[in-house]
Subunit: 186 residues, 2 copies
DNA sequence: GTCTATACAGCGATAGAC
DNA sequence: GTCTATCGCTGTATAGAC
């Protein structure tokens, strides 16, 4: 990644953080200009498609991070190591529960309909990558699928609960128990 | 409940549905007037506090429903029956995954800060009511608390996943497994 | 690339007739 | 109670100077 691309990625990451905090509708362009320090002219220079394109870029960046750090290792590497790596990456990415999942947040309201494909692809791949890793670890097909669904759903639910109760510890404890449950199969 | 109160409750339920579908920011007054058939004058007659008061009333109605159908039975009745009743009520309320949880949706974005107390009280009471029912059923304290947290988080995550994948079956399957997991302790 | 100025639609909210 | 008209503001988006 050249410096130019890196700056652009940093900008997208900043915008993604605003979407996470305010939601799609709540993330106004004035908030985005304020938090990024860029005028509207600059923003529309980088994202000719406007706010919709900014959100799409944010989702694509999230997907890319998970693809490289979680999905591909789950599909490729030895299962126990990849699954342990998944839990470390999850904890790192969600900052131990301080940060929510942009895909999950967008999925819950009307924003979903703007980004159906990106959101669906992300969760589908996460579940199927985890399922296949569990199968390689010896879990039989149906059980592996159920375990993968329960795990991904459990992470989303833990993020919701942590924010609802304003307690990051909630996420850390939930994640530890989900991790322990998977570990019994490895 | 007299007819006047019943009409008012039906109006709040209609408004709640709009918030569920569009989120707080996305639920504009023009959408609300359109879907309810009431002009802005009427809406502000019923809710002098405006949109904020409409959302607060919606959350209060949700809380009331769960209190009567889930929290109080869990706190009062025999544990196995109350827990079975909880699962039936959950499935009924969320329409087998077609409907999301307003509390959970509001918790995820900046809307949370407007309704911190209502959202926090709802989840706190759900978890503690379930925990105490499990304790009465013979599960020891810490395990009951963990199980209650995992269950409520699991329901929220299943709702997120069902909407993200646009597949109600996802919720039904997840809920059935969560139910089975609790049943092993009863 | 970045800014300021601006277009115009939609927002939440209010007033007042009926 | 319900409506229409309208307020002031903010929303997204664009134009054009630099």
């Amino acid at each position: 990644m050249n410096p130019h691309q890196a700056e652009h990625a940093a900008l997208i990451a900043q915008i993604a953080e605003i979407f996470r905090h305010c939601g799609y509708e709540g993330a106004s362009l004035s908030r985005i200009t304020e938090r990024t320090g860029l005028g509207k002219g600059s923003l529309y220079h980088f994202f000719p498609g406007g706010k919709d394109a900014m959100a799409a870029a944010a989702l694509a960046q999230v997907d890319d991070w998970f693809r490289r750090r979680i999905f591909q290792p789950l599909e490729r590497d030895s299962a126990p190591g990849a699954i342990n790596g998944m839990w470390d990456a999850v904890d790192e990415y969600f900052l131990s529960g301080q940060r929510i999942c942009l895909m999950g947040a967008f999925a819950l309201d009307g924003t979903r309909d703007r980004f159906t494909d990106a959101i669906g692809a992300y969760f589908t791949r996460w579940i199927s990558a985890l399922q296949r890793a569990l199968e390689r670890a010896g879990v039989d097909g149906p059980a592996a699928g159920e375990l993968a669904e329960d795990t991904v759903a459990g992470i989303q639910g833990a993020l919701t609960l942590a924010r609802a109760l304003n307690d990051n510890g909630q996420f850390v404890r939930s994640a530890r128990r989900l991790r322990g449950r998977l570990a019994r199969y490895l």
